[in-house]
Assembly symmetry: D3
Homo-oligomer: 319 residues x 6
């Protein structure tokens, strides 16, 4: 049997097998009362839905959510979307499957831009900081945390919830903030620092391997205050940093949710803080909207209700 193409390239009525990460596994009861498995499979290019209708009791023992799997089946179209009807699915046997081309990296959903390209952009942004102490501080932070910062997702489920999603989100915030800084006379240095550091606490708020979970510290302290602590750790190594500049960067991190009831312990009180909170909110919302539009399979011109945004959305007319 042939190997299936990447998820992003799947077309209807193709048979074959491939390796995936199983990110969700639910047992459901169909219209006729019989049980089936409803599954989400990921590879580097995206995510698709798959179903198992036969030998459910036996097959369900062969894999779990969070595991890499080898799956075989035929693509199908259901409510306008491509899905895979599986004949077989089992957890990967690393030693054996590597021979058939299994590579973890190719099974993990990832930001669309290559990570090295994003990393180079980040370093170039930091290099453009005019204050030498701040430039050194930011470089120290990204160097210290490079391993995680290169691969971390931006959230567990809400937005940019895939490998290197945090880096993608930071760069987008940075680009938009700098455009607005020029438009509205805000300080570029502060916005580069704020864009880089506003979510830096997520490196400890969440544990990330192939799936993402909140840590105890994440639950009890939260990424906003963790991030301030990481900033302090770095500042201690850069004794030349002006104290008030540090305070303003702390303020950017702390106020970036924009309002107390959204979890910021202080509200924005500088132009840069207003700007960063607005850009972060817009970027996160637009990312959620895109995902909802892509994932929606309801009939009609409007999507199903988006729970977090509490509304349904108009589908692009060409879709």
């Amino acid at each position: 049997m042939a190997r299936l193409p990447r998820i992003a390239d799947l077309t209807p009525n193709v048979s074959g097998w491939n390796f995936f990460l199983c990110s969700r596994k639910d047992s459901r009861v169909g219209r006729t009362g019989s049980a089936y498995l409803d599954i989400s499979l990921q590879d580097v290019s995206g995510e698709t839905r798959a179903k198992v209708f036969q030998d459910v009791d036996a097959i369900t023992l062969e894999f779990d959510a969070g595991e890499f799997v080898k799956a075989q089946g035929r693509t199908n179209t259901y409510q306008g979307r491509t899905e895979i009807i599986l004949d077989k699915i089992r957890r990967v046997i690393p030693d054996k499957d590597k021979a058939d081309g299994f590579r973890e990296d190719e099974c993990i959903r990832c930001a669309p831009r290559p990570v090295d390209e994003m990393w180079a952009e980040l370093l170039a942004r930091i290099d453009s900081v005019s204050d030498p102490h701040l430039r050194a501080l930011l470089l120290r932070i990204v160097t210290t945390h490079a391993d995680r910062l290169r691969i971390w997702p931006a959230a567990r489920t809400v937005h940019h919830a895939y490998r290197s999603g945090l880096l993608e989100h930071i760069l987008q915030i940075m680009k938009v903030s700098l455009f607005l800084a020029d438009e509205y006379g805000a300080r570029r240095d502060l916005l580069i620092a704020g864009a880089l550091l506003h979510d830096i606490g997520k490196l400890r708020e969440m544990a990330y391997e192939t799936t993402t979970e909140y840590t105890v510290e994440g639950n009890l302290v939260g990424h906003i205050v963790i991030g301030v602590g990481m900033l302090h750790d770095a500042v201690r190594e850069e004794p030349g940093m002006p104290a008030e500049l540090v305070t303003e960067i702390e303020h950017l991190i702390l106020s970036h949710h924009g309002a107390l009831e959204l979890g910021s312990p202080v509200v924005p009180k500088t132009i840069e803080a207003f700007l960063l909170a607005a850009v972060d909110d817009l970027d996160a919302k637009l990312h959620q909207i895109r995902q909802h539009l892509e994932a929606d399979d309801s009939p009609g011109r409007f999507t199903a209700m988006h729970k977090r945004l509490d509304r349904s959305l108009l589908k692009p007319s060409g879709s």
Copy 2:
């Protein structure tokens, strides 16, 4: 006696006279129990505070808020700001004062950019619309309402509350929206239309001569729904406009306050509507912040409370 320089160019300890628009006139009681007049004067370059301490009973009869005035006095510094202590002030006698150089235009506070330059930019933006029906429609609208659109303020008191402030606000919204449209894959045509039309109803919501007042229609209907009516009036003359495009533009106007409790009868349901509401909110807030920072004369590193934003703001450290 010499003529005073423009308000933006006033320095302490200068004597002289000039023509102004009196935008506010309050009678107050000083620390020692005697009454004085506390006044705001405007010219094309800005606004300043002035006070009358002598002959208050007689002078108060010689002018009112909303009138052009001729005023004479000496500049002074009070709590870090320049103000004018007036000896004389009276309403302008047009026939007589024109001989001395009185021109209404020079007494009315105005957007910083020249109106003709802004108007050219607006026409160029409309010319860049790709849909020919929409391009024609927008051109029709700005042509029909050119007289008002060139000079209208964007609000009575809150932000861009001066001559041509609405046009300035529209162009800024447009510029930022188009940048974000490219960043986030939104439709440029819709955002040009939305930026132009979102506040177009203000041309009828407010009456504007030298001062600004809400009309009966403005109070009972509001600029959002007035704007949709003005769009309909123009669409009737452009029968080729696709119906759903009109509906999407209506949606942009209606949802641009972003939430029901802020006066939008529907919430944003398209990417363009989310984007426009965010940009409008940010532009208005940053404009209010700038004004508050400029007008504040409280001691210390933070401004007095900004009532609408419910917080005090950090003053720029160089100030």
Copy 3:
């Protein structure tokens, strides 16, 4: 087999068949793990629940929600309510079933009063308007939209959600408003206009055949602003209408939800607007309460939770 009586006249333990509109069709799993169909059937007199326990897999293919059906079975009492246990149910075959007496009108749930009687009352109310321009305007509007206005429901699910429900709701609002106008010295003309037009936009907000769906315009613009547009269309044909009277009627339409967070872009600012919003709210709430009391089959003296009203209701003690 005999023909069943109308739904409103069903009694327990009667066998027979009849034609209905199937308004809901759900597949459920019973206590013993086997699937059954849970169905809602309507005719002109009301709605009832029905169930299919046998041959579920085959029968489910023979009809869908939104279709006219021929159904046969026996009535039963379950938790104090009459329902039908069906042996057979299939979609109507128009040519064949007409011979057996199938008529669409008799299968569609309808307001309790005859539509012609309601229409005559509406015209009489309009005839009582004292301002001749307004009288002509309202007559023009009901004439233009007569086809829809006679049959439209007032809502998709919430209240008066059946044929001619909108007309029923309008007349009730009108009657109560006029009583209160006399009590509180409000203007009758305005309240006749407001009662007629406050929900007129629903004629375009929803598409209605046998079932009701929101249109794209309904979702993006909403019935409040659509209604103002329909008023404008009519005013254009009545050039004598006083401008401020039009503005006050617009205000009635726009403010009739009573508060911004309920979707009105302006709050009531005239006595008539306060009155109309209160009457509309009360009429809609009492209608929902009646329906909830009628449909409830929970045990005890209180109904199940009414989600929209967020409370359970005391059942009438005689019931």
Copy 4:
């Protein structure tokens, strides 16, 4: 000097004297820095503003707010309203002034309808109650509390804040509720009881002589729960009252503010409770609006802000 006509009949430029109740006395500083007295005077027909500009220091000792006064002066028109510029004002000397026609009753602002006429209407309404126990109970309550119920105001400042205002409010609520009871199939007996008793606790919540103050019980318990206690006191004397009927009446009293955050400890859960809360809210609001429209003297087509309603109101176009 002549006697002035009643307040409701005052015209500009009339001189004379009369007896009044002084309901407010403020010391203010005018534009020129000199102090004057700003006063409210009432008689049975209404309320007017008066001012003292001369001999302020001496005259201010001659009377206080809450006292009956004899005042002399000349009527004047200020911002479109008639007021009295006083030459003299002093507290009434009962023995002496009775000879000149002073009668307390004629100086106290009062509901527009004669109290005996309202009382007769109340008794007739009670007589129409169909349940004999309830009829007896209500009669007992009004008999027990007749002295207060005939004269009490409905509130300290908000609405119906004058002699017999509570009775006026009760009858209006009763009339409207009964109309709606017939329209919506609600129980008339319950609504007569609810209209009579919903605010009955105000007889103990407020102390009323010529002015109105909250009692300790009013502040700590509130009229809603006081009213339930008064109902219990009467029920104890009517042992035949059905227990559940008492509970439903308690519910009407307790829920008549319509929502927890408005001070009702339970929300409406019967049709009658929904109806009573809606009618009470509407009657109180319309009464406030009328008063605000009558009292407003701001320029333009809209009133000044109504603080409690948080909006300005359109003035009737004829005014």
Copy 5:
């Protein structure tokens, strides 16, 4: 077969039978599509979960929720908790089962402290009241309502929802309030009265046998106002009670939810009222937290979401 130990003493892998109260009985579908019964069983020492996997259709007819049952099976560990897999379960046959040791009292979940011990503490607290009238009044109330007060639960589901839970809650509130009274100089007499009476209305708000249900009066009036009525009933028998002391106790009952939106018709206005509301809130919340921590069987360091508190909780690190 052996008799099982008490629920609090159950260990894994024990077989046997015992008598219980069945407090919940749900029919569920397992992963493989077959139905099973999911049950809660109580005895005096606590509550446990039990399941029936065999003969489900027959066994389900042999008992219902709310009945005493005889059950037989084997304990098992599932997700870290002990549960019972049942072979047999049937409703108790009183005459027959008494011979085998069935006693209702031993099957009903109960507060941990013996009721007689709690009752003695209550009487001692009342005896410490310094005002003789109040002491007599409180003694009268507990004597009058002793039957219910000894056994009533404090709530239907939320907290202290078991036999004598109300008494346990009262004593805890009393102890903590008296400590705080001494700390903050509040009046002990008032806090003893407030702790005793704040929830006394629950004796009529809920009907309690083996399960707990809201009464009609509970739904329409609520325990807060019922409690005030019970206080009045007792005061009538103690004519010496100072009126203002009664009013202050009424205030304690009425304001103990702390805010209007939580169902108190007045907010706390005395130090004792603030204190009682805070203690009641804290005691109820901590009890809910304990229960949630004990009942939770989710994996990881945090519990599942607590819906009422809207958060997950950190599990004690030793657990």
Copy 6:
């Protein structure tokens, strides 16, 4: 002339002089239109009001709010309170006035308990901590910050707003929390740490000499996050501290306002965090209430409105 007694011991109709801190100085206009000074004076025992009616223009130049003053006058009773009518008041001349007994400490309002006694209690509490690492950590923190911690106020204006008020507040929170810890089985160590550290950030949030002001860091970061940083600084010196214990203490500091909208970036998720937030809220509220009751001079049984608590309070009946 004699020296006046301490403020707490002032009686009416005493003449004399003394040294004070002037904490407030307002210029007001009296009923007759003439200006006077309305002043607050403090010494170690409390605060009193004083007024200057003569030579206002000259005397106002001799002192300012925030300065130590020498003042002379006669006590008076106004609306039930003792105040001082001053003849003279001027700023202290340190060299000269020391000879007459001026000592700064005696002029600064202070917590009622001696600071050394409070400090000893604090050390004893720390000594009772069972975990040796935590005990050492807390000791290190109080030693490091002893200078400020001994004298700092707990707030600028709201509660405990005087010298050593923070220490007083910490000890009270600690005492009550430990009582409740025993009642509810919470961990004593954590509550000692939480009580000590919850407001420790106030040492940097506010600058305090004789008056109290917010710092830039206080405004932009806030005492909650500053406090976490101070904890981290100390932990770095105590490498043995268990990491999760640190996280739980961070959580106590961060969540002690109890809700996001009150400025806590995370809500309480442990029993100790719930308990600490409740105790802190109660202590702060009761302190505000006491102050309001003491300061109030309105007539009647209820105080004037307390703005922050949004209610008026019942005055103790003996007062």
